[in-house]
């Protein structure tokens, strides 16, 4: 199988043998171990838990460890590149700093009122708020959505789907004490209102989350806060 790997501004071609149940990560690992040890890429768990092996395969961002070659290979083989919308450190490795910096800008840190000496907060699992949190809480920060988002591509300041999804789970977290500050943080020019609802993030999320729904929730929450004069 012909595999084109993006290395800087050029594509390097490799010939990789097909194997049964072969993943794209297997292909990249084969290239690095057998053909060119200078190829840089990133992975850790290999089983879809850590999110560190995300790359662009045939133009589509995905976890390479959970992407079978059978499902994505075209007649002319595979093309593998780094995630889009992020600076490339080398070959298939991107610098994730801006991605996580935006989580902080969207106030992605939990801020509660209780200390370790207090009793546990009782949260009803069936409550509407908790259900909204559950719908978005499983994000593992792989940046596939950020790479797929064409608003990020057009507006590099945009906080992006993952950071806004994180903010939404904290807005709906009844233990949060800083929700007004968080709503202010996501209501700026690069915040939730910049989303065009193209749903590329929701389409590509390997965890099948819907950042689009989270962003829509933030738009409603900021509008309500604004109407009450609390924004």
């Amino acid at each position: 199988m012909k595999v084109l790997v993006q290395r800087g501004n050029s594509l390097q071609e490799f010939e990789v043998p097909r194997q049964p149940s072969q993943t794209v990560l297997d292909v990249v690992t084969y290239i690095q171990r057998k053909l060119d040890p200078t190829l840089a890429y990133r992975f850790a768990c290999r089983v879809g838990m850590c999110g560190s092996c995300a790359m662009t395969v045939n133009g589509v961002p995905c976890w390479t460890c959970r992407t079978h070659v059978d499902k994505v290979a075209r007649a002319d083989g595979l093309q593998i590149g780094p995630l889009k919308n992020l600076p490339v450190i080398r070959d298939l490795v991107t610098d994730m700093s801006q991605f996580f910096d935006k989580w902080a800008l969207a106030r992605g840190q939990f801020q509660g009122a209780k200390s370790r000496r207090d009793d546990f907060e009782k949260v009803i699992p069936a409550s509407q708020d908790r259900k909204a949190v559950d719908a978005g809480i499983e994000c593992i920060g792989c940046a596939v959505c950020y790479s797929a988002c064409n608003v990020v591509a057009a507006n590099p300041a945009y906080l992006g789907p993952a950071a806004l999804n994180r903010a939404w789970t904290l807005v709906k977290d009844e233990r949060s004490v800083d929700v007004p500050d968080r709503l202010r943080a996501v209501a700026g020019d690069a915040g939730c209102h910049a989303c065009h609802t193209h749903m590329d993030c929701t389409e590509r999320c390997p965890k099948h989350l819907s950042p689009t729904a989270a962003i829509a929730g933030l738009k409603r929450a900021t509008a309500k806060a604004a109407l009450k004069g609390k924004l």
């Binding site: 057009a154 509008a223 604004a226």
Partner: protein
């Protein structure tokens, strides 16, 4: 706050425009049955306060809605951000208002 206010203004004007466009199109389709002349239109609109009110709301909603929608288009496609973009959009809004209300008054008076 500004973004949220703009977003709310665009959603509210979108709801108004949805009704206005339907009424506008339905009126056109109804009115052109069997041909249409300028005299016929003016016969309906001249001195008619209801049409004056309807089209004034239509124009005002469009003048608010369109510049807010144009704002990210200019930002994302032309990389035009900052105060000059906002000044241009205010100018654009007033131009729509001036042209639209001018036309509305033209067929009323």
């Amino acid at each position: 706050m500004t973004q949220t206010a703009l977003w709310l203004a665009q959603r509210v004007t979108a709801a108004i425009l949805a009704v206005c466009v339907v009424v506008h199109l339905a009126t056109i389709i109804y009115a052109v049955q069997g041909g249409l002349t300028a005299a016929e239109i003016l016969g309906r609109t001249r001195g008619n306060a209801a049409w004056l009110g309807f089209y004034s709301v239509f124009v005002i909603a469009a003048a608010i809605h369109a510049p807010i929608g144009l704002r990210p288009v200019l930002g994302e496609w032309l990389k035009w951000r900052g105060i000059s973009r906002e000044v241009f959009l205010v100018f654009f809004a007033y131009t729509l208002l001036w042209l639209g209300l001018g036309a509305v008054i033209g067929v009323f008076a």
